[in-house]
């Protein structure tokens, strides 16, 4: 089946095309967060003006015409309302115009499934870390398989924390990857560390780090905030691994692009004789291919939804999405 997926939950407008489980196109345009972060209305306007080009580019890469597409997937949620709406309207328009079925995809499930299948893991403990989400999950259920959340952040996502901190430091561009670059060669300064069982909290760490800005070098604070935050995530993941008796760890989401986090998780996997998997960075960042990928699995397994029932849901939690 040939499915086109549209992702527009945050700063990325992405279009991916999947043919029988193989990704044949993955194009995106990204809103420049600058030093202000995301302003919902502006991001949505950006998506509207770029959508046409990205779709054309994806079709060109795949060497297809829009009439060849047999199904449409779009991000139902979670995400920023204004942005989700853009993707949903475009998907609906295409589906009605071409007379093809639609599938509403959970954004988190897209990240998880593409990482899980690309790294050939069967039933891993998943650490899903992005801007808005930081969760530890494991699939459960027999008839309707879905992911259960074992642990998650009490407040903000780890990516959100790193982005906010980058803005406070006035790093350009203001996001996590710049923090990672700045951190190289830093020394550790004391930071608050909050893990409760398999849950964690990041606001205290953020506030403390911002207060340290004039007391230590940028390099040292970036290094310490990263080490502390990732150690917290790793401790909770290790606990989940032991609790579930699993022998597979999978990491996905925007923050999974960070090499230090992957290094730490691979050490945990090694010490518990477990497998460790992750996907390529282009699929850890927001992308349309993962939406197309999950949509294709849904549609080819008989998932049906009426076009008028295709909604968006800003807080569509991943544990409510059925895995096909």
């Amino acid at each position: 089946m040939l499915v086109l997926g549209i992702e527009s939950s945050a700063h990325t407008f992405g279009v991916g095309i999947v043919k029988d489980g193989k990704i044949i196109a993955n194009e995106k345009s990204m809103y420049d967060v600058g030093t202000t972060g995301m302003i919902p209305k502006k991001v949505a306007e950006f998506h509207i003006s770029n959508s046409n080009n990205v779709i054309r580019k994806a079709l060109k890469t795949a060497g297809l015409s829009i009439r060849d597409i047999e199904g449409i997937g779009y991000t139902k949620g979670p995400g920023i309302g204004n942005c989700l709406q853009v993707g949903q309207i475009i998907a609906k328009t295409l589906a009605v115009r071409l007379g093809i079925p639609m599938a509403d995809v959970n954004h988190g499930l897209g990240h998880i499934e593409i990482a899980r299948l690309m790294s050939r893991l069967e039933d891993p403990v998943v650490l899903y870390v992005s801007g808005g989400n930081s969760q530890i999950l494991k699939a459960t259920g027999k008839r309707y398989r879905h992911y259960t959340i074992l642990g998650e952040t009490f407040d903000i996502g780890v990516g959100n924390m790193l982005d906010s901190f980058a803005r406070s430091l006035k790093l350009v561009p203001s996001w996590g990857s710049t923090v990672e670059k700045t951190a190289i060669g830093g020394r550790y300064v004391d930071m608050p560390y909050t893990v409760k069982g398999m849950d964690f909290s990041f606001t205290g760490l953020l506030t403390h780090s911002i207060k340290q800005i004039n007391k230590h070098t940028k390099q040292d604070i970036c290094y310490s905030i990263q080490e502390t935050a990732f150690s917290m995530l790793c401790e909770a993941t290790e606990r989940a691994l032991l609790l579930t008796n699993s022998d597979e760890i999978c990491v996905c989401g925007g923050v999974a692009q960070n090499t230090r986090l992957k290094e730490m998780l691979s050490k945990i996997a090694l010490s518990h004789h477990s497998k460790f998997g992750f996907s390529e960075n282009q699929f850890n960042a927001d992308n349309g291919a993962m939406i197309a990928f999950v949509a294709e699995r849904m549609l080819s397994n008989g998932y049906k939804i009426k076009i008028k029932d295709c909604r968006i849901e800003q807080r569509y939690r991943v544990d409510r999405a059925v895995v096909f």
């Binding site: 550790y188 004391d190 150690s231 790793c234 401790e235 606990r239 032991l242 909604r311 939690r317």
Partner: protein, 198 residues
């Protein structure tokens, strides 16, 4: 120095049994974690060891059956070994629920939060109920923390057992009213509520 027999292994620590002067001693050793940088790892492990040791001491002082502390190292706690099984797979009886309720009440009266008060951390030994593993515990007088302790038990046991548990807890704990109000609050919290938009 001695023959070490591993009797338990958690995410954080390993528990050994050693013989000292002919007596069984349980040693809880917090393992180094290679994924953490040593600066952070040593601080966390020693801080947690220290806190857990002082929680154990205070728990015994509050009149609750808990392993008695023998010695504390930088990363290990030497304590009395409790012989018996945890109540993880045992069917909980009313007597146990009563004892557990009184136990948590006494701990809370002393400002001790257990942090993981579940059947898996309760043990029967010499016909008495013991509480173990203060690894996630804290000294705190907030109703939020107390309510979370209760909530954890509530989620793991049947309704009938819980009602005996909470009845006995309320009879012992001084500020039980405040705690129970907070408990109802926590259960109502909208963190998992969702909103649908067209």
């Amino acid at each position: 120095m001695h023959d070490k027999q591993i009797i338990g292994r958690g995410a954080e620590a390993t528990i050994y049994l050693i013989k000292e002067f002919g007596v069984d001693v349980a040693v809880k050793f917090r393992e180094p974690k290679t994924y953490r940088i040593p600066e952070l790892d040593t601080v966390l492990r020693s801080r947690r060891t220290k806190k857990e040791a002082s929680l154990l001491c205070s728990a015994v002082e509050s009149g609750v059956n808990a392993p008695r502390l023998i010695a504390v190292g930088k990363y290990s706690i030497y304590m009395e070994s409790i012989k018996g099984d945890t109540l993880n797979h045992t069917k909980l009886s009313g007597t146990i629920a009563k004892a557990a309720g009184i136990m948590l009440g006494k701990l809370h009266n002393h400002g001790i939060i257990h942090g993981d008060f579940t059947p898996a951390n309760l043990m029967f030994c010499y016909g008495k109920l013991f509480v173990i593993d203060f690894g996630l515990g804290d000294f705190n007088n907030g109703s939020e923390e107390r309510a979370l302790d209760i909530l954890l038990m509530k989620r793991q046991v049947s309704k009938a057992i819980y009602s005996i548990f909470i009845k006995n807890y309320s009879a012992v704990a001084k500020s039980y009213k405040e705690t129970l109000i907070r408990l109802a609050d926590i259960e109502k919290r909208g963190r998992y509520q969702s909103r649908t938009m067209v």
